[in-house]
């Protein structure tokens, strides 16, 4: 059973490697959104330092949400998804494999890219590290919650916008604790940052426990 999940993960990674342009455009989007903020609020260093964690988090949230529409769409279009659903393996395991692949392709590069962008916003290395750590815990939760949205909107009209409308309100807790964990350390309250980080881990655990099942039932509704 786990072997099938592993195979799904491997297959999705391979497919993503064959379509590198998708991956590159998501990362370019992330960098571009971050680069737009200095144009919007002005180049003042102190202000940019203050808003940096929030900007990076919101940009990561948007980039990962935009990439979600690809999560099930290709497999749905060519019928692979139905074959996977018909196999004896529980659908949540397959969903988990696909979400893990999606996170490795979209989430992890965002996490790795974030410290460099943080330096661009004038954060020191000490401040960039908690930011990257918060993204490391937060982005998998975003992918898990997003999988439910992607499954619900499969084949619906107005896909991308609708998906964002469904997923973004549900992602707010992750954003709040993520920014709390990233920004708290920059200021005085280090304990707040630790608490936020722990709560973020709790959200990730909760999402890990519930989201694959919810997404699997959403896929079943879409496929019947």
């Amino acid at each position: 059973m786990l072997r099938v999940g592993w195979q799904v993960l491997r297959r999705d990674l391979l497919l993503a490697l064959r379509r590198r342009a998708d991956l590159a455009s998501t990362l370019a989007f992330f960098v571009l959104v971050c680069a737009l903020f200095p144009f919007g609020v002005g180049p003042e260093a102190g202000l940019l330092r203050t808003i940096a964690p929030g900007v990076l988090w919101v940009a990561a949230l948007l980039a990962s949400t935009l990439a979600l529409s690809r999560l099930f769409a290709h497999d749905h279009a060519d019928g692979t998804l139905e074959q996977l659903a018909l196999s004896g393996t529980p659908l949540p395991v397959i969903v988990l494999g696909k979400v893990a692949a999606h996170w490795l392709v979209v989430g992890l590069p965002l996490v790795l890219l974030a410290p460099i962008l943080a330096l661009q916003f004038g954060l020191s290395a000490d401040e960039a590290l908690p930011l990257a750590l918060s993204l490391l815990l937060g982005t998998p939760a975003l992918s898990l919650v997003g999988a439910l949205g992607a499954a619900l909107t499969l084949g619906a009209r107005g896909g991308g916008i609708l998906l964002s409308l469904l997923v973004l309100p549900l992602s707010v807790p992750v954003l709040i604790f993520g920014v709390g964990a990233a920004a708290g350390d920059a200021g005085e309250a280090g304990s707040t940052a630790i608490a936020s980080l722990l709560l973020l881990g709790g959200l990730l655990g909760g999402a890990l426990a519930l989201a694959p099942w919810a997404s699997a039932s959403a896929l079943r509704i879409a496929l019947e």
Partner: protein
């Protein structure tokens, strides 16, 4: 697929109320209830507004500005309650595959969104004289705003799916995900920031004059009566639209046409 259609013929012995799970049986019942509910809403609103705007004394700190509470608080309560009711009926529809429950969930959503918007709007009007700002990024305001987006997402998802059966079930799943998330959203936003005054009603009793409380409760009942009437009316239209191929809707429409001459 639709198991409930057998229920319209006759309810199982001992559970006659199950008869009304059939749209055909519920449709006339809702039609009869709506005028009574609307009448009650008007009467209660008149009483509540009299108590709230004329009988209740001005607040010591806020003067007359506080009087918007008689709309604001009932609307805010109702906005949350309707979401729970919507998720409840959606879940019943998902589990028992009853058509009417899913239609009820769809009928509840616009009213819920309306009351959420009303709560936000009256809150802005109240915030301006008391806090000096139309909007503050406070925990309760923000979670109410997110609630509005949950309603809008539910309605947008149902509108985007062509197959009504899939729309029902996908919407139900989204509503349930929202219910799991609402406490998380609420507490996370509270963690994030709070400025809103404490709740006026708590388990320890009300922190307001009895006449203000009476006015608020009467207004709450008025808005409830209105909301139920509006939801039932919307439910009736949804029933007619979804069941337009059935014999009883055809007969009903023919009769209506006859009445109109």
């Amino acid at each position: 697929m639709y198991t409930t259609s057998t229920l319209s013929a006759g309810a199982p012995a001992g559970r006659p109320w199950l008869r009304y799970a059939a749209p055909q049986a519920f449709f006339p019942l809702a039609g009869k209830a709506i005028p009574w509910l609307l009448g009650a809403a008007l009467l209660l609103a008149a009483c509540g507004l009299y108590l709230g705007l004329l009988a209740a004394p001005p607040d010591r700190a806020q003067g007359d500005a506080y009087r918007i509470i008689f709309v604001h608080v009932p609307a805010a309560w109702l906005s949350m309650l309707i979401y729970l009711a919507m998720a409840f009926w959606a879940a019943i529809g998902l589990v028992f595959n009853t058509r009417l429950s899913s239609m009820m969930a769809s009928a509840l959503a616009p009213s819920g969104a309306l009351f959420t918007f009303l709560a936000l709007w009256t809150g802005a009007l109240w915030g301006r004289p008391t806090w000096g700002a139309w909007w503050v990024w406070d925990a309760r305001l923000t979670s109410e705003l997110l609630l509005l987006f949950l309603y809008l997402g539910f309605m947008a998802l149902q509108a985007a799916l062509d197959d009504p059966r899939r729309a029902d079930r996908a919407g139900a799943l989204l509503a349930l995900a929202g219910v799991v998330n609402v406490p998380v959203i609420y507490f996370s936003v509270q963690w994030w920031n709070t400025l809103h005054q404490g709740a006026s009603l708590s388990s320890r009793g009300a922190s307001m004059a009895p006449i203000m409380l009476q006015a608020m409760l009467v207004m709450t009942m008025a808005l409830w009566a209105y909301a139920i009437a509006a939801v039932l009316q919307r439910l009736r239209s949804i029933v007619l639209k979804r069941e337009r191929h059935t014999a009883w809707v055809q007969a009903y429409l023919k009769e209506k046409q006859h009445d109109l001459g």
